[in-house]
């Protein structure tokens, strides 16, 4: 019994429902059991879901937008969006892009104490079966094209979690010639989990934030323009500014030449591929010439004028 009649909060929320809030009498319980048995018979031997238990109304199942009660049978109604949201946010298939120390903490998060399986997350070492990439560890210039390639192999919809300061900003390897200063210079990152390395509990908290974000994206309440200030806590105080990030196309590039050249070669399809997708491509510079479609339109206009 999660909620009783004495709970003041329940009374405040649903004052009119006070008579039905009463604990069920024996007759009511018997009729409810009967209805449940009938429902299970109708559903073909499937046990009636516990969410229909009238006594534990605090158990919120996101599938149940609305419960239509007819005598002997309760029917749950849900929208497809909420169904997808519920399913995808509770069944993360995680691709561990683990390179260094954070990978060990990622393994600890998947192991017995923290146990990511509790939130439905399964770790699969192939990108083609996964929808969440956890970048755990330093990404070097030599490794970055592989990360990008693995990211492109993951099917949509997909999300990325940057775990640890190295994946977020490069940390103190930031100025080293062989290190990419933050994984969000070449793939879009949804959740940043700061720490060096973050505890397994922190990673779990980050994944729960990702669940919230997925729900908000489905609802359309997620603001895509501009990142919230707290999203990148590690990089706020770093002196080397002006790094171009995914979603910030106007910022000036601050990469060294070697990093820029290496990162430019990330799109394995070449320049057309980078220009094609605003989110994923055109990483460091605004396009020098207008796109081909605009040029064609301008040419067409010129011919019309003449």
């Amino acid at each position: 019994m999660a909620v009783t009649q004495d709970d003041p909060q329940t009374d405040a929320v649903t004052p009119d429902a006070a008579p039905t809030d009463a604990a069920p009498t024996d007759a009511e319980a018997a009729s409810f059991a009967e209805a449940q048995a009938l429902a299970s018979a109708v559903l073909g031997g499937v046990a009636a879901p516990t969410a229909l238990d009238r006594d534990s109304r605090s158990y919120s199942n996101p599938l149940l937008d609305k419960v239509i009660s007819v005598p002997g049978l309760d029917v749950a109604v849900a929208t497809v969006e909420r169904l997808l949201d519920w399913a995808s946010s509770n069944s993360f298939f995680i691709f561990p892009m683990a390179t260094s120390c954070c990978g060990i903490e990622f393994m600890a998060a998947a192991a017995s104490r923290v146990d990511l399986d509790r939130m439905g997350a399964i770790i699969r070492p192939t990108p083609r079966q996964c929808d969440v990439m956890v970048v755990a560890g330093t990404i070097t210039v030599k490794m970055a094209p592989r990360v990008r390639k693995l990211w492109d192999q993951m099917p949509e919809p997909k999300w990325c979690v940057a775990m640890g300061s190295c994946a977020i900003s490069g940390d103190f390897y930031r100025d080293i010639y062989s290190v990419v200063p933050g994984v969000d210079t070449f793939i879009p990152v949804d959740v940043y989990v700061p720490g060096c390395p973050p505890n397994p509990e922190e990673l779990m908290k980050g994944l729960k934030r990702l669940q919230v974000k997925i729900g908000m994206q489905r609802d359309g309440t997620w603001q895509r323009s501009g990142m919230p200030a707290e999203a990148r806590p590690e990089t706020k105080s770093l002196k080397l500014g002006g790094l171009l990030r995914i979603g910030d196309p106007d910022r000036a590039a601050g990469l060294s030449d070697a990093q820029r050249d290496a990162s430019r070669s990330l799109g394995f399809d070449g320049a057309e591929h980078r220009g094609a997708d605003e989110d994923h491509g055109n990483l460091f510079d605004p396009p020098e010439s207008p796109p081909a479609s605009q040029a064609a339109a301008a040419e067409l206009e010129a011919t019309h004028e003449s």
């Binding site: 600890a108 017995s112 062989s178 290190v179």
Partner: protein, 407 residues
């Protein structure tokens, strides 16, 4: 070491086994038909059994590996160059990230090199605590090596994932103790120039003794896993036999060398810290196969548990850190001749060669001798002649850490 838990398992010497047909690692591939016989398979850099980012280019003739070429460098972070820009006090937390399964020994090795140059002696209590922490770190590191190796060869079917879960459960006990002592699960930054930064809190040893009891009780199961599980034995015995000569030639040390019959342990042969006050039993096996590399880690964990109990029982009184030639709150001035210091890390001889600058505040050159680099060098010699499925078992038994291979 309690005798009732001692392993009664007798490992067959590797000379009695029929070793797989050795194939020259520098074999001329033109002997094979290019289109008909050979297939090139890239293992890594993103592969769970490479324990990090390590790429091996395998040339296969059917199931048999003909040639293997290793490509490290996917985690090259320029650590040695980075350290030349930093002061001595700032370097310790960076070296933690080198060997991220045993940060305690990494930072101890660097600080010992500093102390050797400056001629500073660490107080006995500081050395004692370093010894204790190094042994506990060896237990934690070997637990991960055992668990990940079992997961590599067994997967979910052979019971390997069970062992992975169990060893991580035991490792958390050690990490709890470290977290209570230093405030961090790993990347401790607890060893500093002249001694230790954190003293043992009151009652800390009771928790550690409890954890050690628990680990020793469960090590029986892990030892049984290596002897009583037929899947494990069939996949490991006689696989990846590394001879003594090849091991010596490639500079192997630590558990890999001792599994191949090299009776060498710096804790006993060139004592540092407080190891000269302890009686250390060095387990040596001669089989040199994957099973021996598993067994030697199990035995070393037991030996480390025994040493840790001795160390916990007799922690001396006194200061934990000596007087330092400070030139400010965060820096020291160290002048002197270059020095090389080697200690016995969980993976073998971990060395630091250090040349200070003329001002004495920064390293002019710092070279790290990582044991895992030599373990990775073995791959080209061990893999040819084996089946493809054995490559995963051999890689898992080597337990390389790419953070210190690539640095």
């Amino acid at each position: 070491m309690s005798t009732d838990h001692a392993s009664t398992h007798v490992v067959t010497p590797w000379t009695a086994l029929t070793p797989p047909p050795r194939v020259d690692p520098y074999v001329d591939l033109s002997e094979f038909e290019a289109d008909g016989d050979l297939m090139v398979l890239n293992l890594g850099p993103q592969h769970p059994s490479t324990h990090g980012v390590f790429r091996i280019k395998l040339v296969l003739d059917g199931e048999v590996i003909v040639k293997a070429v290793g490509y490290p460098g996917y985690l090259h972070r320029g650590v040695e160059k980075l350290c030349e820009k930093l002061t001595f006090a700032n370097i310790t937390p960076i070296l933690d990230k080198n060997d991220y399964l045993a940060p305690m020994t990494s930072e101890q090795c660097f600080n010992m090199a500093l102390e050797k140059i400056a001629g500073v002696e660490v107080p006995r209590r500081g050395r004692w605590i370093r010894t204790l922490l190094a042994e506990l770190q060896r237990i934690a590191s070997h637990l991960i090596a055992i668990g990940t190796f079992a997961m590599d060869i067994g997967g979910a079917i052979g019971g390997g994932t069970n062992l992975f879960m169990w060893t991580f459960r035991e490792r958390e006990l050690i990490l709890n103790a470290f977290e209570e002592l230093t405030g961090s699960r790993f990347h401790y930054n607890t060893s500093c120039f002249g001694g230790q930064r954190h003293d043992l809190p009151a009652g800390w040893d009771l928790g550690v003794i409890k954890a050690l009891d628990q680990i020793e009780r469960r090590m029986v199961e892990y030892a049984d896993f290596g002897t009583a599980n037929p899947i494990f034995v069939n996949r490991c015995r006689g696989i990846g036999v590394l001879g003594r000569d090849l091991a010596l030639e490639l500079g192997l040390s630590g558990p890999l060398g001792r599994a191949s019959g090299i009776d060498h342990d710096l804790r006993r042969d060139a004592p540092y810290h407080c190891y000269d006050e302890l009686q250390i039993n060095v387990p040596v096996l001669t089989a040199g196969d994957c099973e021996a590399r598993y067994d030697i880690r199990v035995q070393e964990v037991r030996e480390s548990i025994r040493l840790s109990r001795q160390l916990l029982a007799g922690v001396p009184e006194g200061p934990i850190c000596s007087e330092k030639p400070n030139i400010g709150p965060t820096s020291v001035r160290v002048k002197g001749a270059p020095a090389y210091v080697a200690i016995e890390g969980p993976r073998g001889e971990l060395g630091t060669f250090l040349i200070p600058t003329d001002k004495g505040t920064q390293p002019y050159r710092m070279k790290i001798r990582p044991p895992s680099l030599h373990a990775v060098a073995v791959v080209e010699h061990l893999l040819p002649g084996n089946n493809l499925s054995d490559a995963v078992a051999i890689l898992g038994s080597l337990d390389p850490i790419m953070g210190e291979v690539d640095r």
